[in-house]
Symmetry: D2
Subunit: 335 residues, 4 copies
């Protein structure tokens, strides 16, 4: 059994703790949160140890590996501590909102053999990874165009938006990683437009956007479009489409239960889409823990590494610059 401790007992940390507890080859080594009540609640529900500090977690011989689900500003520090302590770590995205801090962290852990895995959970979604597998299996020939549609079901609370680092670093970052995962090749240019259509007042105040479109291109000419919105009233819209010389692969949205209704005014009506990431990506979050257990237990290669977190953030930086300056940005300008 791999004994995994969870740092951070907010909504996502709690979900990870439950998945670890339910995993046949893992057990929940304990939890920690700066808000003691949050840690206590998870510890009680899952019958797990409550640690007094992060340091105690990293120092414990009862802890084989660590999952970091704390607030973003702590991620880079914890990754460095994990490497120092020799604890394989799965860290929620992003590594940090600052590319400079990420670079410093990269330097600090340079050459380490301690596995650091990044929580780009969507890579583990069967639909999305099915698209990648179709490409690798040659089922669509040479890849030409990728379309990623990614819309949240509703605006996060104002407080979250204000500190999120902006839509590109917080939301699109998942799609940047998905784009890299699907395309399997680095991007060369980033071309982004942004608008304030859902909540113009808040967006104006945060100098942020709620509606963005990004076009990425590779040196070989592959094109990838990302469409984001902070609010899709019909639910959490998550689609990936890959078009190639010999075909197309699509990862479609998923409904909850597959009941369809027909009436005098309509046919084929389904319920709104699964809502929100904890429900939509339930299988992916569970498979992510699987993959992490493989890494810790069997030394499997890290499927999504520190480097991937760094690359996604660089794409976000380039997108921000692109909107600000109204021109395409070469990725080399920000890296």
């Amino acid at each position: 059994m791999v004994r995994i401790a969870v740092l951070g007992c907010g909504r996502i940390g709690r979900m990870h703790a439950e998945n670890i507890a339910a995993h046949p080859r893992a057990e929940l080594a304990g939890v920690f949160d700066v808000v003691d009540a949050a840690a206590s609640s998870v510890a009680a529900t899952l019958n797990a140890t409550k640690f007094a500090s992060a340091a105690e977690v990293f120092g414990s011989p009862e802890v084989d590996a660590v999952l970091i689900a704390t607030s973003t500003p702590t991620h880079a520090d914890f990754i460095e501590e994990a490497v120092a302590a020799g604890k394989p770590t799965l860290c929620e995205k992003p590594i940090d909102l600052s590319l400079a801090r990420v670079a410093a962290c990269a330097d600090a852990i340079k050459g380490t053999t301690v596995p650091i895995m990044l929580g780009f959970v969507r890579r583990f979604d069967k639909g999305h990874s099915g698209v990648r597998q179709a490409i690798e299996a040659g089922q669509i020939g040479e890849l030409h165009q990728v379309t990623i549609t990614s819309r949240d079901p509703g605006m996060a609370p104002d407080a979250y938006i204000e500190t999120s680092g902006g839509i590109f670093r917080d939301m699109t970052i998942h799609d940047f990683d998905m784009a890299r995962f699907i395309v399997g090749e680095e991007f060369k240019t980033v071309n982004a437009v942004g608008a304030r259509l859902v909540d113009p007042v808040l967006m104006e105040r945060c100098d942020d956007y709620d509606t963005v479109t990004v076009v990425l291109t590779t040196a070989s000419g592959k094109q990838c479009v990302i469409s984001n919105s902070r609010r899709a009233v019909y639910g959490y819209d998550q689609r990936v489409e890959a078009f190639g010389s010999e075909g197309m692969a699509i990862s479609e949205n998923q409904s909850d239960g597959n009941t369809r209704l027909y009436a005098a005014a309509y046919t084929d009506q389904k319920a709104p889409l699964l809502n929100f990431f904890i429900e939509r990506y339930a299988q992916a979050f569970s498979s992510e823990i699987d993959a992490f257990v493989e890494v810790v237990e069997k030394g499997a290669p890290v499927p999504v590494g520190f480097h991937d977190g760094q690359k996604a953030l660089a794409l976000a930086e380039a997108a921000i610059l692109s909107v600000r300056e109204g021109r395409p940005i070469a990725l080399s300008e920000v890296e």
Copy 2:
């Protein structure tokens, strides 16, 4: 050019006349209807000859072939006249409501080489015939089960229902023919249940049913289910499903235009189904004329013959008897 005259200028006769007029290798030789105004209207719109009588049609050297879209009681007589006159004929279903009259007609035209084609239009639908083609191509292996769902969008007028010969002879008859077409083997037993759920008062008065389920079996054990209703509020529901040892083929319903809507309360909503047969089977009616022109022009084999009309009616008789007596009926009991 094949010169085709149309007998009967009601809704379906008018539609056929238009399809003939629009056909590149056919022309409308003229029309006739006992209601002179109906014939005049079609003749004027399509710039066609108006015949004074059916006899005149059958006698005219300007008429190469005849399409019969008159009321049911005239069909058998006109078929006999067509054979006598040597005019290839496409006759709307059913041949007659009485098996005895059909048998007499069969005797009367026995041995003729004049092509008599029956208007089981659904055989020409690309979706339904696609299912048959999949079977013939071996794509689903040996056929085991067929499911036909066939529901009208709404009750026909009372007057029509009262003289239709009942749901089995009027509506299910299309599905009996479809069942024979898909299965490609004769049925041995008919097992039917009927209910009065849509308009119990009218059904009681007509000793008819508005909601029926029929199970047909062949000597080799193949099973076919037909589900009928006189009223599907969401439109004209027309589906065929064939299940076999190596797969399944489904002919799905068709929407008008393929627009799908997503809103806070639902996703994937489409418009009601195409409504009614003239719209839903527009392609099939047009292809039916194509096939008839092939028969007349090139002596192609008749794709749906008199025999098929007779068989479908026998199945209807057996279904009526099955409901009345509450037991499965061997087809041999009615033939």
Copy 3:
């Protein structure tokens, strides 16, 4: 925490044990199996107590409730023991292959207040229960016709088939329960046909059928069709369709991952269907445990009771008689 013990550690028992272990408000009180190795394996994997006998389970004060997943012939005995011991019980279907034994069991436990819940897991599937909810919410008006398509992905091992009690008692029984659940009204007549198309030799030897169609009717005229096959090569085909005066509700099949492929020869291609019940009904099995925990913990009404198991079996008996005698059977003939 509700402490639930599991009797029977075969494939389904193991799955239930895992679901109990993973349930936030339940814990696995222990397991028992006559095959000691099976029990040991589950006990080790899930870190659970291994009981020495069923009697020990029923006698243990550490056991709040029992889940019975042993072989069918033991079910009725264990239910009686559970009632005697006052342990709320969730028992896999069927209660017994003999209606007489079921009736005796019913007598034996008559008047008990100990909750006995039957494992008709499909009632807990979100898609299927969504259809029932649509009916209850009046979204399709008065119910007229129900179509249940239910096909296994492949033949069970010969040994299983030989002792299963036949397709109606083993496989269709789920659909009989689904039919009762969806219709919400008892059936009056059963009309079944059976064929030997998948494995004629085995079926002949067992006097069984691998391909069956059943038509059920209620006193009010509602019609329900069940189509079963022992082998659908494209996966586990599980669909429910309810048609009513104001609309239709359909529970569609579910694919694994929702990836669709397009190539020169086809479009919209998906993977085969989820395979088999443990995967397809994963959500339902988990929700079933939820429901059982509600029953034990809070005294919630039993959602599927002993009576439902008895009714489903009576429908199976009637279907067997219908095929044997080639006629519709009134349910009153077998009850």
Copy 4:
């Protein structure tokens, strides 16, 4: 009856001629083509007059209106002649490959009351226009993002590509018009990327692209993405998606016949998409003639005018400049 003559008897001219001949309120006044054999063939098949010259067509009192389906370089001249002759005209797109020539033509016909309609046929597709109707009906609230996917089934012949004016003027121009139609607001900026992935040698030679992505924005911040490819092996891919504050409307691709196949290796497989525009937009081409007849017969407002052709071409110019200069282009730079 509206008497319409057709100039140009290539594939598209012939199709228009057939639609006119089949239209209940129109008749084919005659045809003309510089290649006499082409005109003769259509005239013979449709039993129509063959004109000796375009001038004869414009001068004929037997011609109420004209449809121009000749090669692109003749369009502007014929439009000017049509206006001079007072003949309402439906002209295939584009007006000309040169914005300057289009502007000159606009000057030449300035103030005319002769209706000039442009053949942006996709506006008449029920699926695409259904999206626009949903927007107008307020069903998706305020429009935020539009995604147009538009891919040809295969490369046109080299000779066509070489004289087409490039992908933006020849192929994307339809999507530019669709974007304007769906959005209902003028675009302000055009941002395009192009690649040579399908046939790099030919594209290099023609200084053209076979794979392009275009992002359009309006002053109010609406975003529209167009994805084009010269070759989609699975057929003619034509989709439109509109996302707004209260929902989403999608116009899906259409299959031919709606047969779906299930086998051991897959489910839900459909045939390749309808191929090519004459099949896919058959309904739209027919409805386009309808609309033109309304214009000529009843003086209905022109649904797609000269101005729309001019605007679409300006967007194409801006896209070409955007790819060439690697920057977003304000539409004001090219107009």
